[in-house]
């Protein structure tokens, strides 16, 4: 217990870094993922193929390999940044594919009659997507999106192996420094993650139930 109390500052810093990495990457990945989803349902075959290819490649590649490309290959192209920025790139690129799939499944969940009605009153593709489909898709899609954010939160831990001092890295450092209190230290780190993931998971479950009743 003392090992935790003595290092509260390190915990706080790790927590803030994890949170920052999560928030920034989530926003960027959601934007990129929504764009990819729009590409995948668009009338333009080139865009559909490009979106599908992105998703297929990324979802079959481990996040660790994506990190390798960001951290070790980008510097070979003379792109130099702080570790945290590389981590944001890797986490964003990886999770955009999953945000895309979540949004797309939401679009597909909207009844076909909605799209037919939108088109029959003369709305264009963009208009029917923006005014009719997406507002409805968004409702069903919020719980899965929250779940992807939870997965993203957990996956930020991989940044620990690539120079970012977030929660998991703090845990490893403290564990190496306090060999007698390893379990307490990791339990403290676990609690920090659960503080982020469990309430979000509960919220997603509640929303899921409400949307299910509404349909």
């Amino acid at each position: 217990m003392d090992a935790i109390l003595d290092n509260l500052d390190a915990y706080r810093q790790g927590f803030v870094t994890t949170l920052a990495l999560t928030v920034v990457s989530s926003v960027l990945a959601l934007a990129l993922g929504t764009l990819l989803a729009a590409m995948r349902v668009s009338p333009v075959p080139t865009l559909r193929a490009a979106g599908a290819a992105y998703v297929e490649v990324v979802r079959n590649t481990p996040l660790t390999v994506v990190f390798f490309f960001a951290v070790f290959v980008l510097p070979q192209l003379d792109i130099r940044m702080a570790f945290l920025q590389f981590a944001v790139i890797a986490v964003t690129v990886y999770h955009a594919a999953f945000f895309c799939e979540a949004v797309r499944s939401g679009v597909n969940a909207v009844g076909a009659g909605q799209a037919e009605a939108a088109r029959s009153i003369g709305l264009t593709f963009t208009q029917s997507l923006r005014l009719v489909i997406l507002p409805q898709a968004f409702r069903t899609v919020v719980p899965p999106l929250i779940n992807v954010v939870i997965a993203l939160t957990k996956n930020t831990s991989i940044a620990a192996a690539f120079g970012v001092v977030e929660l998991t890295a703090v845990g490893t450092r403290l564990a190496n420094a306090n060999g007698d209190a390893v379990i307490a230290i990791f339990a403290g780190i676990a609690v920090c993650y659960l503080v982020l993931t469990l309430p979000s998971g509960w919220l997603a479950g509640q929303l899921e139930r409400r949307v299910a009743v509404a349909r």
Partner: protein, 281 residues
């Protein structure tokens, strides 16, 4: 909803615009890639020996050994996760609250934690209490702790998705609860959840790459070893080769899952859908 409902078939002018746009887009992409290539070429990134490194026998052997180690860890973790996942699902479905509640809490706890944290906890925490653990078993045990919780939930979703009539009919002909589960529910549930199960196994296979962090000599670690030995400029060919191997292996497994999903849906009209979030984690 099929996506084709969203727009009309594109007319001649639209097709022309799409063609122009696609060509412009591809040109833009070519410019970006060209810039990257030029930058690399200026640094000698396309000297023939750079990519020829992949034909070197020792590099190939190192990567092949890594792939075998990856597969070994994945297979052990898959078998263990399915076995433990089955136990967790049955426990959480139990009518005995003193059993169902703690099992539910266990599942939620381990699903809510980062896998890497579990692996590090086992690898650094167990030696602290006097248990020595190899990198292999720390990786396999971590993967099992996490994936058994997720797979247990897939099993549970599969069983819960069956019509109540199945259970009631089984009780009516005098089967006990355990028998009902074993003889009636599981065989049907397995079919419905097989696609979701396979896609979770793909996730597990991807996650073996976390063995890199605790220096388990799997595919990625061996690739890193090769690059550290040969020099940073070889990172592009070697990491690209590793990515291609992962995409080939996982992509074919995903194809099997999709084919099974399609077939099962034609026969039974539904399947247990894998959650996008579980695939990400």
């Amino acid at each position: 909803m099929s996506e084709a409902v969203l727009y009309d078939a594109v007319g001649p002018r639209g097709r022309r615009r799409i063609l122009v746009g696609s060509v412009a887009g591809l040109l833009l992409l070519a410019v970006v890639i060209g810039a990257a290539v030029a930058r690399l070429a200026a640094k000698g990134g396309f000297e023939a020996d750079l990519w020829r490194v992949l034909t070197r026998g020792d590099v190939q052997r190192l990567l092949a050994r890594g792939l075998v180690a990856t597969m070994r860890a994945a297979l052990f973790a898959m078998v263990l996760s399915i076995a433990v996942g089955g136990v967790l699902a049955v426990g959480r479905l139990s009518r005995r609250r003193w059993l169902a509640r703690p099992v539910g809490a266990w599942v939620e706890l381990f699903r809510g934690l980062p896998l890497l944290l579990l692996i590090l906890f086992l690898f650094l925490g167990l030696p602290a209490v006097g248990v020595t653990i190899s990198t292999f078993w720390a990786l396999v045990a971590g993967l099992t702790l996490y994936n058994s919780a997720v797979i247990g939930e897939i099993f549970r979703a599969g069983i819960l998705s069956l019509p109540r009539g199945q259970t009631e009919a089984a009780y009516a002909i005098g089967l006990r609860r355990g028998q009902t589960l074993r003889i009636i529910l599981l065989p049907q549930a397995v079919r419905l959840m097989l696609p979701a199960l396979i896609s979770q196994l793909v996730t597990l296979l991807k996650d073996t790459s976390l063995g890199f962090v605790i220096s388990y000599a799997e595919l990625l670690r061996n690739g890193r070893t090769a690059v550290e030995f040969l020099g940073g400029k070889y990172s592009i060919p070697i990491y690209t080769a590793i990515a291609v191997v992962y995409i080939a292996v996982n992509g074919s497994l995903s194809l099997v899952a999709r084919w099974l999903d399609h077939r099962t849906r034609q026969q039974y009209g539904r399947t247990v859908q894998p959650s996008v979030a579980d695939e990400a984690a």
